[in-house]
Amino acid sequence: MGKHNTPMLDELEKGPWPSFVSDIKQQVANGKHVLKEAPDDLLGVMELSYVDKVTHWKHGGIVGVFGYGGGIIGRYCDQPQMFPGVAHFHTVRVNQPSSKFYTAKYLRELCDLWERHGSGLTNMHGSTGDIVFLGTTTDHLEPLFFEMTHELNQDLGGSGSNLRTPECCLGQSRCEFACYDTQEACDNLTHEYQDELHRPAFPYKFKFKFDGCPNGCVASIARSDMSFIGTWRDNIRIDQAAVKAYVGGEFAPNAGAYSGRDWGKFDIQKEVVDLCPTGCMRWDGSKLEINDKECVRCMHCLNVMPRALRKGLDTGVSILFGAKAPILEGAQMSTLTVPFLKMESPFSEAKDLVEKVWDWWMEEGKNRERLGELIQRKTFQEFLRVCELDPDPRMVDEPRSNPYIFWKEEEVEGGWTRDIDAFRAKHQR
């Protein structure tokens, strides 16, 4: 059937987990993709890598659609004679709708488009969140973009030193923990910043991600320069009858998430009250009390008893800045900068903050310096001045332990200009 012999890859057809090899083979056999040889040659070049234990792809090349500086990743095979079907194999990043809901009708339109203009292979989805069309040639890019914008009303995502495609958790669409409308926030900011997304003008990449609550399902705290994480500042709503139902065994704790093992009878003291990181809960055998002032909204008790405990009603976001993967200075998670902000359409305050931060980063950032690295280099204090925020103990785990404070002249009474003669008048040399 296939044009290449792939004994190594064939080993990956066995076993229970879905096999991408079998899937590519079914595309080879039945697909109507325009680049006839592409899936077949992808299997071929991967088999060669399995034998050689080294990749056979080369970086880069100037590819893109006119007027955009991102959205297409150029890729060439280093054995084009052996694998002509993937000699040029560029990917197209297609901006996914908020939290990746689809209708079958729309997905089919995307499939048709991609079969007309590429390999018929995709990533659902890339790590940033985009729909990724995997592998096409340069001549297909403009027609694909034209048809995608005209017929599907759909745009590309970001790549390069620009705003990357923002991503959100499913939020209020199907999650009782969501503290704001992550989908709307993500969609709104994506549309607001189309220019920044398509035309690289930043020192490096910049990512927004929107988590509806501190459970963090899109990993914003680890993966985004600006992380929006839902939270609340009033009280957890308690349904005491439902608490009793959990204690009495009528409701499955953790919504059943631990039901595959016999962990014994649910013990509210041991499993909830004692595990609360702040020790702010009390259970007296009939009533659950929470000292909400001390709660840090870790989500544990809500996760265990979703039917009894609900987030508060005065909800918004905490905004954290500066996460990045380890290259170069080591991995960083985002740092809490705005403890609480209301997060309602049209999100003006959040956008003001975004723009202040971008202006500073574009002014001060070195080439390929992520925001988190710039904050380290220029100091968090400087960053707070840029954001026009007052320092707050919530921003640190603990105060500094070294006293090497870089005092500013204007902070010291009388300034720094002194008279050595006046000093000498009192102190001999």
């Binding site: 890859l9 990956l12 076993g15 229970p16 987990w17 879905p18 096999s19 991408f20 090899v21 899937d23 590519i24 697909g31 993709h33 991967m46 399995y50 050689d52 234990k53 792809w57 970086h59 007027g67 194999f89 709708p97 908020s98 809901f101 079958a104 018929g120 995709t122 990533n123 659902m124 790590s127 027609p143 034209f146 048809e147 914008t149 009303n153 991503e167 199907r174 009782e176 969501a178 189309q194 220019d195 398509h198 459970n215 399902c217 990993a219 705290i221 680890a222 953790n254 919504a255 059943g256 998430a257 595959g260 962990w263 595990l275 989500m299 544990h300 039917r307 380890p326 290259i327 991995a331």
Partner: protein, 372 residues
């Protein structure tokens, strides 16, 4: 009105962004958005969410290969049409969720999904990935599409998931275990906060293609790309401008190769896998934390990476037996102490595991509290 290559800019549409999510929400979700009361996992992979109105939406979660053909996508669409009025979604971790309001179609949907197999016998739509178990492994491109990988991505994921499949369709671990894979240090997938991270690493400094380097690359950019300052200008024997790598300074990051194609570093024995454990993202009970390197190197073993698979399985098995309920892998390791972690998992502790990069001392033990 198709694209006209002679007038590429005619009627051009740009900057329209993504489609609005509102077009794709099932009616029951549109109606109850923001008014969900609670959820319950009915069986591994099957959830019900209940709204204040009493409405319910059922979600059936199935694992997906993120490298997916349009043939497969069309089959997903057909299933969504048959049972779900055409509605579905994908999760952050590359799972597919079929969404339906009509409970009577739930069992037929699950049975149908479980019955579909690929030609080689693997499940097309494994149902699971919820609760205290292992869900899909997020991963990057590997040998399918990238120029800097040390390892393949899809193949390693397939081999590992086959071996721990039992944890995908059960919920019997002490807490969720999130496994992630990135095929080089760049970590496009940002795996650095995972319970278990499988990371491709190189161990040989880049070669310098002296004949070509000055033609292919901007030499100063390659020099500037190196985080450790290991690259300096040089000349080849016949006087061509070139670069030289101070090998003992190289941290094998591959930045120079991204900048300059004349400095390849992947190697059949030099490149392989490191395993990191104990990271987490959620704020539940303990704060988010980074994963830590516990196995510095495992050789590349295509097609099924048996040593890597065994290492991951061993860590999960020991954790599963030893940890308390609700304890994430990293919380468990911290409670018992890392010295115990190595003892219990039988993983040798080597000098590679002691940090010697920037801020290294923050991970050294500055106390006399330790366990014998």
């Amino acid at each position: 009105m198709p694209y006209d290559p002679s007038e590429p800019l005619k009627d051009r549409i740009t900057d329209i962004g993504p489609r609005h999510y509102g077009e794709f929400l099932p009616p029951v979700i549109k109606k109850n958005k923001g008014k969900w009361l609670y959820h319950e996992i009915l069986q591994p992979g099957v959830l019900v969410h209940v709204a204040e109105s009493g409405d319910k939406v059922f979600s059936v979660r199935v694992g997906g290969c993120r490298l997916m053909s349009v043939e497969h996508l069309r089959e997903i669409c057909d299933i969504a049409d048959k049972y779900c009025d055409g509605y579905l979604r994908f999760t952050t971790r590359n799972n597919i969720e079929f969404l339906l309001a009509d409970e009577s179609k739930l069992k037929p949907l699950v049975d149908d999904l479980k019955s579909r197999k690929f030609s080689g016998g693997s499940n097309k739509f494994p149902v699971g990935g919820t609760g205290a178990g292992v869900t899909n492994i997020v991963h990057t491109q590997g040998w399918a599409h990238c120029h800097t990988p040390a390892i393949d991505a899809s193949g390693v994921v397939k081999a590992v998931m086959d071996a721990i499949y039992d944890e995908f369709d059960h919920m019997k671990l002490p807490a969720p275990v999130r496994v992630s894979l990135a095929c080089c240090l760049n970590m496009c997938g940002a795996v650095h906060c995972s319970d278990i991270a499988i990371l491709g690493i190189h161990r040989k400094p880049p070669m310098v293609d002296g004949e070509w380097i000055d033609k292919l690359c901007e030499l100063p950019l390659a020099i500037a790309a190196c985080p450790t300052g290991a690259i300096k200008p040089a000349k080849t024997a016949d006087g061509k401008k070139s670069l030289e790598v101070k090998a003992e300074r190289c941290m094998f990051c591959g930045n120079c190769y991204t900048m300059c194609a004349a400095m390849p570093l992947a190697d059949e024995v030099g490149s392989g896998i490191a395993i990191l454990v104990g990271g987490k993202l959620s704020n539940r009970i303990s704060k988010p934390k980074f994963s830590k390197v516990v196995i510095p190197f495992i050789p590349n073993e295509p097609p099924r990476w048996p040593s890597t698979v065994a290492a991951v399985k061993n860590i999960i098995d020991v954790y599963s037996k030893d940890a308390h309920k609700y304890e994430r892998l990293g919380d468990w390791a911290e409670r018992i102490g890392w010295e115990r972690f190595f003892e219990k998992t039988n993983i040798p502790f080597t000098h590679h595991l002691i940090d010697d990069y920037r801020f290294a001392y923050t991970t050294w033990r500055q106390s006399t509290q330790f366990k014998f």
